[in-house]
């Protein structure tokens, strides 16, 4: 079976890249109806315990409303809207963080404790919890924990929290539809890999580099 037939087998045929995702979803649903377990489209190929686990995680709630508000402010400080794409909250990063701490309980105490640490710092300095502080006050505090190399030793716990928050925000944002488009990932679609494009090879001076036993 050649590549064109492969794409037909996927239900993709000669469709343009933009339509591939929809075509794929349709195809997957059709497959689901044929199986006896009658799994929903996104449950095909998932093990029963995984489906159950996800349902439970989605139904549970970990963060309080106040904690979620702080997470939202922090996430948008870390990844704000700019002229290329939306903010972390536009990409629903807070929802992702709520899910991932339930999925990976090791995040729970550092996140909950880190948020409380932040509020206490703000209370002591500004007399208000983080979300009630002015934008300037918030940034003043963030500046004390966002730069590991120059942060004061007494702020180390805040640095560790912010590193984690930064990583979770980046994970949530750049794996969202908005973030994948922003970063410019161009794959996950049928094509033919013929090597690095010529103009790029030339740009990096790699035209003559070849893997071979006779070196």
């Amino acid at each position: 079976m050649n590549r064109r037939d492969s794409l037909k087998a996927l239900g993709l045929g000669t469709l343009s890249a933009g339509l591939l995702l929809e075509a794929c979803k349709t195809d997957t649903k059709k497959g689901a109806e044929e199986t006896t377990t009658a799994a929903a489209g996104d449950e095909v190929g998932r093990q029963p315990f995984e489906v159950e686990r996800d349902k439970k995680l989605h139904a549970d709630k970990f963060f309080t409303t106040a904690e979620m508000a702080t997470i939202t402010v922090l996430a948008d400080i870390i990844i704000p809207k700019d002229d290329k794409s939306g903010s972390a909250s536009d990409a629903k990063v807070p929802d992702f963080i709520e899910f991932i701490v339930k999925d990976m309980p090791d995040h729970q105490t550092p996140m909950r404790g880190g948020l409380r640490w932040l509020d206490l710092q703000c209370l002591n300095r500004f007399g208000k919890p983080f979300t009630d502080c002015t934008k300037d006050q918030q940034i003043q505090l963030i500046d004390m924990i966002a730069y590991p190399a120059k942060a004061k030793p007494e702020m180390a716990q805040g640095v560790a929290f912010f590193n984690r928050m930064r990583d979770l925000t980046a994970s949530g944002f750049f794996t969202s539809e908005i973030g994948v488009k922003d970063i410019g990932y161009a794959g996950n679609q049928p094509g033919k890999w013929t090597g690095v494009p010529d103009d790029i090879l030339k740009h990096y001076g790699m035209e003559n580099v070849k893997a071979s036993a006779s070196m």
């Binding site: 087998a9 996927l10 497959g31 990932y185 071979s212």
Partner: protein
């Protein structure tokens, strides 16, 4: 429990095969195509990549964005199972370590493996250093089967004429990605041989095969392929064998033991059905184990009888012994010159584009045998962990304005850094020969059973100085390659505190050797046809028969040996010997 009974089948199959991975799948395929009636028992669920693969899903279609919470290699990875399976424990002895990866599904671990398809070479079967036992067969004995596997399943690569890295019948290899070209340069400057990869992915249509599609380059072989463009035992062997009408598969059938008669011959197997939890027995004239090196040894050791008091096929006492996994150690970094690189689809294939076969002479080294190196890097699909720890990267290279920035940060400038660093990272991993040792073994734990009441395996495995020195050499080589990559930024080598990054035994998932073959029945369990010395209608077709693994990933050799054993069974049946 009062109504518990064993349901005995009145039918007798020609052959029952335990396991549906590379070994069981190949044996089933060859036998079913020869008109032999085969029953295959698989301990996990049915899995057809065409329907069940998570291929082409986007990261946001996973609530955990592809993280490995329930699947060790990520939410979209094909493997059902992992190093831990609920209700199916294993134990370790004397504070040693072993991690046992099991995929409970049709096709087993072949649904998600790296498709790196290397032949073992003449010196892997008969080493010249005298350190390990020779195989009872040579490369020349196996070569015709490697050739047939290449034609039947398809593998890409290039003819290089290397003595211990035998060429196959190759499809064209994928070209290197941009990061990988830097690795090629670095390796060549460091004097490390580097050649196109060898993988079982159909970079072109497989001649004569209408059931499998050609690769369309999504780079997601680990998810298994909906068009069967890569090798999985499910898509390429078992499902086609079912279509012959001669192979029946029972899934969720967890085998307890092989049943033998008063003469000590195998007459069938017993299993528990994981769905109805009833006990079953099936009859067969020939029994083939392809349940994995660990699981096949477990079944034999649990199959005790008056004729086989130490477990079936174990009069030598070697069953479970000589367990060995590949060594593994890795390194990585990023290439500042690739910051702000132009975007294009660089997914390629899901196996290696380039690799380094072992290139040195052991006479000049302080450890025996060798390792190969696998490489990667490029503009990959973002997933959980994307650009994690950016505070370790964005403070060590100048910003757009040419000035150094304070590491870490937030806001528009950080968002820009994520874009700048995307696609700059690379990695390399060594996979080496571990010596098969009598003292590295699995045995039945006298005190522990799984949730089906089956006694479980207890492992005893220690790395020796040979393996640790090899990992040290890997780390030194990685440093040399990275140093020669022209400005790559990377950490220092891992040292003795981590055994030079040497992964714990079992982590590379190449465990082999537990039911070794050999000419001497006192020192081996199987003869040169993978037929039990003690029980002539019992065969083993997974990686358990390996006497000594080379630095080559095991799958291609499992396939070749299983095909060879299946053809032998066909001949012996004609002679009425089995």
């Amino acid at each position: 429990m009062s109504d518990l009974q064993i349901k005995k089948s009145s039918a007798t199959y020609d052959v029952v095969i335990v396991g549906s991975g590379a070994g069981g799948g190949m044996a089933g395929y060859v036998l079913a195509n020869a008109g032999i009636k085969v029953l295959m028992l698989e301990a996990g669920a049915y899995f057809d990549p065409a329907k069940d693969s998570q291929q082409l899903k986007w990261p946001w279609e996973s609530p955990r964005r592809g993280a490995g919470t329930t699947r060790p290699f990520g939410d979209f990875d094909a493997a059902y199972g992992g190093w831990e399976i609920d209700g199916e424990p294993y134990t370790t002895k004397d504070k040693t370590e072993f991690f046992w990866f099991r995929s409970r599904m049709l096709g087993g671990r072949t649904n998600h493996w790296g498709r790196i398809s290397l032949r073992m070479g003449p010196r892997d079967f008969q080493a010249k250093d005298g350190l390990t036992d020779d195989w009872p067969i040579t490369y020349d004995d196996v070569k015709p089967y490697y050739d047939k596997v290449d034609r039947m399943i398809g593998v890409y690569g290039t003819k290089e004429g290397l003595e211990n890295e035998p060429d196959g019948i190759f499809l064209p290899p994928p070209k290197p990605r941009l990061n990988e070209l830097y690795i090629v340069q670095g390796a060549q400057k460091a004097g490390v041989k580097i050649i196109p990869g060898r993988g079982s992915v159909l970079t072109e249509a497989l001649p004569g095969n209408k059931d499998r599609g050609a690769c369309f380059f999504c780079g997601q072989c680990g998810r298994s392929c909906k068009v069967y463009g890569d090798f999985s035992a499910s898509s390429c062997l078992v499902i086609p064998a079912i279509k012959t009408g001669n192979l029946k598969v029972i899934t969720n059938a967890m085998v307890r033991e092989v049943i033998t008669n008063a003469e000590g011959l195998a007459v069938g197997v017993s299993y528990i059905n994981k769905e109805d939890l009833q006990e079953y027995q099936v009859n067969a004239k020939t029994v083939i184990l392809g349940a994995s090196a660990g699981e096949s040894a477990r079944i034999l050791l649990n199959s005790k009888s008056a004729q086989h008091p130490g477990g079936l096929a174990n009069s030598s006492g070697v069953v479970g012994r000589y367990l060995h996994d590949s060594t593994g150690s890795s390194a990585g970094g990023f290439l500042p010159q690739l910051m702000d690189r132009k975007r294009y689809n660089e997914d390629g294939v899901g196996s290696v584009h380039i690799y380094s076969p072992w290139w040195l002479d052991n006479k000049k080294l302080d450890f025996p045998r060798g390792y190969h190196i696998e490489y990667g890097g490029g503009l990959h699909m973002p997933s959980y962990g994307f650009s994690g720890g950016i505070q370790n990267m964005n403070g060590v290279v100048p910003g757009r304005d040419g000035k150094m920035k304070e590491a870490g940060g937030y806001g528009a400038s950080l968002k820009d850094d994520y874009r700048r660093f995307y696609g700059t990272q690379f990695g390399m991993a060594g996979r080496g020969t571990a010596i098969a040792r009598y003292d590295n073994y699995c045995e039945i734990d006298p005190n522990v059973v799984d949730k089906y009441g089956i006694p479980v395996l207890r492992f005893h495995y220690k790395w020796a100085p040979e393996e640790i020195k090899q990992a040290k050499h890997m780390q030194e080589t990685f440093q040399e390659i990275m140093h020669n990559m022209g400005g790559a930024i990377y950490g220092g080598p891992q040292g003795p505190e981590t055994n030079y990054g040497l992964e714990a035994p079992g982590k590379i998932i190449h465990e082999v050797g537990t039911i070794r073959m050999g000419n001497d029945p006192k020192k081996s369990a199987l003869n040169k046809w993978c037929q039990a010395h003690d029980c002539k209608n019992l065969f083993v077709v997974d990686a358990a028969p390996f006497v000594q693994q080379g630095d080559k990933n095991a799958t291609w050799t499992i396939l070749a040996l299983s095909m060879r054993t299946a053809e032998y069974i066909i001949q012996e049946r004609k002679k009425l010997n089995v």
